[in-house]
Symmetry: C2
Subunit: 270 residues, 2 copies
């Protein structure tokens, strides 16, 4: 099943717009996971088991796993989700971006090596850095458009033909890069007007929206600004605020509570 | 010794502006390296042994190694160069780009994990994605500015205040991101005027120039456009045209010949 179809089914089934990011930070894990060689996997497995029916996607983070020497555990959690919860799409958050055959290698790594349903990609290098990803027609390519970090404005808000660069990225995505209907965009929750402007430019293209929770974006505002015509269209992503809602024995229960709170705050289909 | 100082000494000692990219492609290796578990390392070792005195840097490619399941061999070749030819800087070509603590993890991976002297980084996310790299003051952060691939124009040549976006990146690099004097820029060889414009904007900042050799850029034109006031300032990068100059038993000799030809064509200090 294609990423886009899997995502639409997950929205329909779970009624949730919440995407849980799996960004391991060893010092924040409950103590019993810190010294196990498979501790990161075991922690994420418990989070996934506790939340799989109330999320629309999981988004494991490549760099956080790499920094902990835990690439094998990244493989393991993706395999686990595919095997146990095959209807929940997995997004590899790796922010790839390279040219020519290198891009082809990166796409192969993400989609064949990690078996991710989708991967995040930087648009800075342009078409030939993006096409090796999008030509995997059944997988998703999620392009950075307007990110949620403070430095995003440095380049992404520079004015091109009277509008910010990120709008140019959104328009290129809709007009040029989405020929296989498998492109999505990253648009941070920190400015709802940005989400609304991008939504207006890209039709029903899915938007991955980080920046709520620890980064301070408001869920209800983001959802109001970004829902598509089907009342879905958004992956509202939170990591730390869900994973580390508690570091006691109730961490998985607390994680589920944090996702439910996001749904209560508005991160649900309408 | 800092990356910048190491690079300046390498230019002075070798008189070479050639940077050799280590981009393994298994089918192109001489046959005897293809089936050895350490074949990629052994091949690169032979290339390095044959060229170390006539290059200013090596640039191993992260994705090419990852795609071959050869991250251990990437570690091994970097360690080998540091150990055997400690005056030659090693640039990890990984085109990283992420925010906040993820960027910190990526910088740590590049500089502490791989022990690279420098790493390539995308500027699309802005200051807080760049600073975790540049705060390693003795290491180099090499920002993508105007890349050499055909799709580069899609974003990088969009006009901002009447000049292309890549010039804005060059100006931000010079004015804002180079406080520790450890930033360099990637500027493709495919348009010498671009190199000249960037050089005019960034003083003596080192420029990494891919796009000669297999990608068709002219060495003499690139060097004429980009030398700094000391007659150096450039890392003219070639990969395939050096590594695979021959796939017979003479491959290392042929690689040296290809580097010498680049120097004869103009890739040398003046």
């Amino acid at each position: 099943m294609s990423f886009t179809k899997k995502l639409r089914l997950a929205w329909a089934t779970s009624q949730s717009l919440v995407c849980v990011g799996l960004d391991p930070e060893l010092p924040k894990l409950p103590e019993r996971f810190r010294d196990r060689p498979d501790g990161i996997f075991a922690f994420h497995k418990a989070i996934v088991d506790a939340t799989h029916d109330i999320v629309c996607a999981y988004k494991p983070q490549y760099a956080h796993h790499a920094a902990h020497g835990a690439i094998d555990q990244l493989h393991a959690i993706i395999d686990y989700i595919h095997d146990r919860y095959p209807n929940v799409p997995v997004i590899l958050d790796a922010k790839r971006g390279d040219m020519g055959n290198t891009a082809m290698y990166l796409a192969k790594e993400a989609f064949e090596g990690f078996k991710a349903d989708a991967v995040t990609v930087s648009p800075y290098l342009g078409t030939d850095a993006i096409e090796p990803f999008t030509k995997y027609v059944d997988r998703g390519t999620i392009l950075l458009c307007r990110t949620s970090n403070p430095g995003a404005a440095d380049l992404q808000e520079l004015l091109v033909d009277g509008e910010p660069l990120y709008m140019k990225v959104a328009r290129l995505a809709a007009a040029k890069w989405n020929a296989n209907s498998n492109v999505s965009l990253v648009v941070g929750a920190t400015a709802p007007k940005v989400i609304a402007d991008v939504r207006a430019a890209v039709g029903d293209m899915p938007l991955l929206v980080p920046g709520v929770g620890a980064q301070g974006g408001d869920v209800a505002d983001a959802v109001a600004a970004g829902r598509d015509r089907n009342g879905a269209g958004l992956m509202i992503s939170a990591s730390r605020s869900v994973l580390y809602a508690s570091n006691g024995d109730d961490f998985a229960h607390a994680a589920r509570g944090a996702v439910e709170q996001m749904m209560a705050d508005g991160a649900r289909t309408s």
